[in-house]
Amino acid sequence: MIEFENVSKTYGTTCVLGPVTGSIPSGGITSLVGPNGAGKSTLLTIMGRLLEPTTGRVCIGGLDVATTRGAELARTVSILRQENHVTARLRVRELVAFGRFPHSRGRLGPADREHIDAALSFLELEPLADRFLDQLSGGQRQRAFVAMVLAQDTSHVLLDEPLNNLDMFHAVQMMKRIRRAADELGKTFVMVVHDLNFAAAYSDRIVALRDGQVVAHDTVGATITDATLTDVFGTPVRVREIDGELTALYVRG
């Protein structure tokens, strides 16, 4: 359960988010959608305590993000930004091992190693485990970071555009893995997704933002509609059901 209350972010005189209030229930996948500059990533990074809100507070699993100790929070929530670059030369396994840091403080035990192996195999990274990150393609690196977040074994996982830089094939693979993690491991995923159809196909809930405000927050069926999406994106969107999937058509307006 993630609760945010009266959260806003202002730069100088420009307000980029809020104030917004709401809550995201435990379990399943919640996608944040909206046009550029709507405040999706800002909201996500504030929830993940990477950015301090100008006002308001966020609680994740009952822990106040602003006051809880970093190590404790890191066992409850993990967050992955879209741009991740590491100055040091790390191997994939070493990166994933850092996911265990909140639990082990750097001294890996047998349980930690199990978690690392499980995360590697969950993302089918075993063949790449001894490669250096800078030897990987963008998609492979993205998978390695997701594996790190999974090894962290938190109940809540926040992902900022996990499909960024991935082609169709890898994007589908990534969403299937996230769906599987949500279903099999019972984790709560919150993610920013740009592609409406990916959001519609794999999420349980949609939070739509526009101009820093939450415009809609409901199940996929209730939010992926002509009226809501046209309103959120400011461009004509038609939703059709194709082979049982809600599909947004917006290319030709």
Binding site: G48, R49, L50, R69, G70, A71, E72, L73, A74, R75, S78, I79, L80, R81, N84, H85, V86, T87, A88, R89, L90, R91, E94, L95, F98, G99, F101, P102, R105, G106, R107, P127, D130, R131, F132, Q135, S137, G138, G139, Q140, F145, M148, V149, Q152
Partner: protein, 335 residues
């Protein structure tokens, strides 16, 4: 592109990417070389009484060890906590700041302050002032307000130049006697070390070493960058402040002992990253330290006995380090 490359990469045996020599062995070899260089500097080419020569050279050798340690540790820590491998405390003007603070002290209180406060209390007071000022300034610089590391670097470099000019300016305002006292105090040189100062310097090094060893895993996690390290539960703000305090402490001792060296830390840290074969601070920092000793002791030995240019070790190191820095700056796409 990646599709065509991927099979070729997979075909390569996984062992090819493994280090050929374990990091521990590499560090051991580096320490062996460092000891060798120190021994050579201390004992070879002595004229007259052997013991006397060694006694004469011992303070310089000790200063080399301290300088190598302080610069290596300060640079690697600074790199880690600021998430880059280009900026170093010296390049960012820490050394110049120390010189400026010394000059300000004399300017405000007169040269007698140096003689009245001689010894340990003086050092401690100076160091405390330096640590406070540097931590404040650089915490502000690294607070994220400036975003781009290149901007930070430029600001730091020019800040260093400004500190230098301001020091020169103030020195010109001093009475000649004050100036004399100050210049003795300021321009410590490797070959002319105040032995009374060494025990305290060693104490600080020991303290820093213990702290770093104790925090080594957290330092490893800091390598992930601010956001990811926060994600795995590192209190980034606290670590940044802590490391900056430590760095200011180390640099102020290094500068007081052997004078400013802009590129030395950069040189040893860069080589250590290349040669250690792991990212772990438990290995990288000792490696950088050992390389530093090899450079200083070996370099001094060669300069003194091959080129007869004993006083120019730091100049040569500046030259080599500067070239390496320039090469990296031109090559890198990001810091």
């Amino acid at each position: 592109m990646s599709a065509t490359l991927a099979p070729a990469r997979t075909a390569a045996p996984a062992d090819a990417t493994r280090p050929r020599l374990a990091p521990g062995a590499r560090v051991a070899i580096a320490f062996g070389l460092a000891l060798l260089a120190l021994a050579a500097y201390l004992t070879l080419f002595t004229r007259g009484s052997f013991l006397f020569a060694v006694e004469l050279r011992a303070p310089t050798a000790a200063a080399m060890v301290v300088a190598a340690f302080t610069q290596a540790v300060a640079t690697v820590l600074f790199h880690t906590v600021t998430d880059n491998r280009i900026l170093t405390p010296s390049i960012m003007g820490f050394d110049s700041m120390f010189v400026l603070m010394q000059t300000l002290l004399v300017w405000f209180f007169g040269g007698m302050i140096l003689t009245q406060l001689a010894g340990v209390p003086m050092r401690l007071a100076q160091t405390a002032a330096m640590v406070l000022a540097a931590t404040g300034l650089y915490r502000w610089l690294f607070s994220g307000r400036f975003g781009n590391l290149f901007v930070l670097l430029l600001v730091g470099v020019v800040l260093g130049m400004a500190f230098d000019s301001l020091s020169t300016f103030l020195e010109r305002l001093l009475r000649p006697t004050d100036y004399d006292l100050l210049s003795v105090e300021l321009f410590g040189r490797m070959t002319d070390v105040d032995p009374a100062f060494l025990p305290l310097a060693f104490g600080v090094c020991l303290l820093a070493g213990v702290v770093v060893w104790w925090r080594r895993h957290v330092l490893d996690a800091l390598l992930l960058g601010r956001e990811t390290s926060i994600c795995v539960g590192v209190d980034h703000r606290r670590e940044l402040t802590g490391v900056l305090v430590l760095v200011a402490l180390l640099v102020s001792f290094s500068t007081a002992l052997v004078g400013p060296m802009t590129f030395f830390g950069f040189l040893v840290a860069t080589l250590a990253y290349q040669l250690t074969g792991t990212y772990r601070h438990a290995y990288v920092i000792p490696m950088a330290f050992a390389i530093g000793v090899v450079f200083l002791a070996g370099g001094q030995f060669v300069l003194q006995h091959v080129f007869y240019a004993a006083g120019f070790l730091t100049v040569v190191i500046e030259f080599v380090g500067g070239l390496l820095f320039l090469a990296l700056l031109l090559k890198r796409r990001s810091l």
